[in-house]
């Protein structure tokens, strides 16, 4: 085994962070590579001694000394949130997180103007909110697509004059469209962005190729395939490719196509934070999630029975995986059931990327669908393997790396695994 890619086959929150942490605890890992999303990611990692960090931009392997984080050009980088996250890491004993970080200079920046515009739009949607996190990631992507030559990028932080011009243009365009934005003046933003450039290693595309040659890299996905910009249930999606597509393109650029083990992460309880379809949602399920509080942008955290129909769809959209990591098995109590088909269909088929009308029609159909339940499985890993036609290669019964058990050889730790 060389490189590993970890992708969530649900709506996010399945436990990618804890799986990445376990990978870094059980074998030498050179770098955790982020390949989508931005600061809105929230990958919770808990250590045996109780220390906890919600990883947003740093890789979830950061608790392990020496493991680096690389933010690839597919990530929307938020230097403001990054500074706060680094400070929190220092309070839980990781003082060199910024020293172990590299950022691709081509990556888009999320700015206070994107954030303010994101919130203004989401508020205007009223009851039809998309479940956005209010951090401006989608806004930054949209602006980058509309104005590729003017969009502020990470490398601009080295050139205050250029960055000032791009931020001003950005602010003026968004203000013209949405009215006054609740964001600080451009001059006030500059010290934060130039401070970031002065502190963090900003690199070119060849950095990753070198890292991939040097040691094992773990590609850590953000969000989940069911939220994918093309395959998710429009419009309740993220502006981000959540499948393996970005991993494949980064590997291809480095001349290492296919040199990766693909892991899909699933939770035995299908969850969703934010609006949109969750066919198996059951408010009577006796669960709470301590890391996903109700918030003004996504509302409350929603729980449902294991939705094999949706997860099969995600697996197909992602192009298959080599193995599944099944998490939260400690929650599989007597109340939890498995849904293998809906009253409207037993199979959802992915369409070609880019056909949002098709995705919206799919969403409408899901909102009409009712789950059909079978008896609760005696052996969850066996039931999931049978339903998805894919081996379960890692099971997790709790929050820490110690609560994980590899099944079979695919993710078995090398004999000389370094200590957690």
């Amino acid at each position: 085994m060389n490189h590993v890619a970890v992708v969530d086959l649900g709506y996010g929150d399945a436990g990618k962070g804890t799986v990445v942490d376990w990978l870094c605890a059980t074998r030498p890992v050179h770098t955790v590579v982020r390949f989508n999303g931005g600061a809105q990611a929230a990958h919770n990692v808990v250590l045996r001694d109780g220390r906890h960090h919600t990883f947003a931009q740093f890789g979830a392997g950061t608790f392990h000394p020496g493991v680096r984080t690389h933010l690839s050009r597919h990530v929307v980088v938020d230097p403001l949130a990054l500074a706060a996250e680094a400070d929190h890491l220092a309070t839980v004993g990781v003082s060199d997180a910024l020293d172990r970080l590299t950022v691709d200079g081509d990556a888009l920046l999320a700015t206070p103007y994107h954030r303010a515009a994101n919130r203004a739009r989401e508020i205007a949607r009223g009851a039809d909110r998309h479940g956005s996190c209010g951090l401006g990631v989608g806004e930054a992507v949209a602006y980058g697509l509309a104005h590729p030559d003017d969009a502020p990028r990470v490398a601009d932080c080295h050139s205050p004059a250029l960055l000032r011009r791009r931020l001003t243009t950005l602010r003026d365009r968004l203000t013209a469209e949405l009215g006054t934005l609740d964001a600080p003046p451009v001059e006030d933003c500059l010290p934060a962005f130039t401070g970031f450039a002065g502190r963090v290693a900003i690199v070119g595309g060849s950095w990753l190729a070198e890292a991939l040659r040097t040691g094992t890299c773990v590609f850590e996905g953000a969000q989940g395939v069911l939220l994918d910009e093309w395959h998710g249930f429009h419009p309740y999606t993220t502006w981000s490719t959540t499948t393996f597509a970005n991993v494949d393109s980064l590997l291809a650029e480095a001349g290492r196509s296919g040199d990766v083990t693909r892991i899909g992460v699933l939770r035995v309880v299908t969850t969703r934070h934010g609006h949109g379809p969750l066919v198996t949602e059951d408010p009577s399920l006796p669960f709470t999630d301590r890391h996903n509080a109700t918030n003004p942008w996504q509302g409350r955290f929603r729980f449902g029975h294991f939705d094999a129909v949706a997860h099969r769809y995600a697996l197909a959209a992602a192009g298959g995986v080599d193995g599944l990591a099944l998490t939260h098995l400690d929650l599989a109590g007597p109340d939890l059931r498995i849904c293998r088909r809906y009253d409207t269909t037993d199979r959802l088929t992915p369409g070609p990327p880019g056909d949002l009308d098709r995705q919206a029609a799919l969403t409408a159909r899901l909102l009409r669908s009712r789950p059909v339940y079978d008896d609760k499985p005696q052996d969850w890993p066996a039931a999931v393997r049978a339903e998805l036609g894919t081996p379960v290669v890692l099971t997790s019964h709790g929050p820490t790396a110690d609560d994980k058990t590899p099944c079979g050889p695919l993710l078995a730790p090398p004999t000389l695994a370094h200590a957690a």
Partner: protein, 319 residues
């Protein structure tokens, strides 16, 4: 996915990166400077707070803190906290177009840098002024610092559109832990500020002059040498009445200043202000509530159905 729990505040982020490079926020002082930075030199200086197209109704706020040894680590903590003040004022909307000036107070009888005053700024440039302050760390041991010189400068060397055009006072916060000297000495004024006074000015007169144009507060923080010392508090209560405020947690300094301004501008009452802080996730409500209880209570007591007149100079309605 989906939380965004880490702060995305620009002021906060700039400060975090600055700290993480190992560069002290007091870079000028820590690099060994022992003379006033030209940008903060009060000699022949006038500090202005002016309206502009972008800031049509400027509200000047001056924060001057004691940098002598008795304040121990207080100045360094203040330096990390004060950059958040502008953001807090802007977010809460307690004052229109706030423009903030920072300065530092030492002891003219024995210090090399007894008075440092920055410019009124409405953006991060005021952070630069904070970074240029020389931390005196000395002081004379006589329980007095040259607060009177700072008040003299504020009374005679500041010009604000808020006063000139609207007859409204600005806000002056002095943060310290000792007594002022009883007279503004003509010799010290000549040396430091450059004015030619024929005789010393009594402290009372300076206080009268400065409070006419500046709503002046004295904050006595915890952690300083004489904190809680009744002599110091009584001295300032005698000069400024209820505007002498004890602050038992320095972390709450920005919130205390912001709420004081909000109360002064009648943008809020104390309960509303505390609710705002609570909603913003501030842990400072206890400290602020305690510090401002006297101000808040008195301000609320002014609400009356009886005929009242408006004192435009203070913006406060009195019976």
């Amino acid at each position: 996915m989906g939380s965004g729990i880490w702060s995305t505040d620009v002021y906060d982020a700039a400060d975090r990166y600055r700290r993480s490079t190992g560069k002290s926020a007091f870079s000028y002082s820590d690099s060994g400077a022992r003379t006033v930075h030209p940008a903060l030199d009060p000699r022949d200086a006038t500090r202005e707070s002016r309206d502009s197209d972008e800031h049509p109704r400027s509200t000047p706020v001056a924060v001057l803190f004691d940098v002598t040894g008795s304040m121990r680590t207080v100045p360094r903590v203040l330096q990390t906290k004060l950059p958040q003040l502008l953001g807090l004022l802007q977010r809460q909307g307690y004052a229109s177009d706030p423009q903030i000036m920072f300065g530092a107070i030492g002891d003219a009888t024995c210090d090399r840098v007894p008075l440092q005053v920055g410019q009124f700024e409405s953006d991060n440039r005021m952070d630069d002024d904070l970074g240029r302050i020389v931390l005196e760390g000395g002081g004379g041991g006589q329980m007095s610092e040259s607060y009177e010189l700072a008040m003299y400068f504020m009374a005679r060397h500041t010009v604000t559109d808020n006063w000139e055009k609207r007859g409204r006072r600005g806000y002056l916060f002095i943060i310290g832990d000792e007594l002022a000297y009883q007279r503004v000495k003509a010799r010290e004024v000549a040396g430091l500020i450059g004015d030619d006074l024929s005789e010393d000015v009594p402290l009372r007169q300076v206080v009268d002059e400065v409070t006419r144009r500046w709503d002046t507060y004295y904050l006595l923080p915890a952690g300083s040498h004489y904190a809680g010392n009744a002599t110091v508090l009584d001295f300032w209560r005698d000069l400024l009445g209820q505007n002498a405020v004890v602050l038992d947690d320095l972390d709450a300094v920005c919130e205390t200043i912001a709420l004081t301004i909000g109360l002064g501008e009648q943008a809020i009452d104390l309960d509303e202000g505390l609710r705002d802080l609570d909603r913003a996730g501030s842990g400072a409500t206890g400290t602020v509530s305690k510090a401002l209880a006297r101000l808040g209570r008195d301000r609320r007591a002014e609400v009356s159905t009886l005929p009242a007149f408006r004192d435009t100079a203070s913006g406060v309605t009195r019976l």
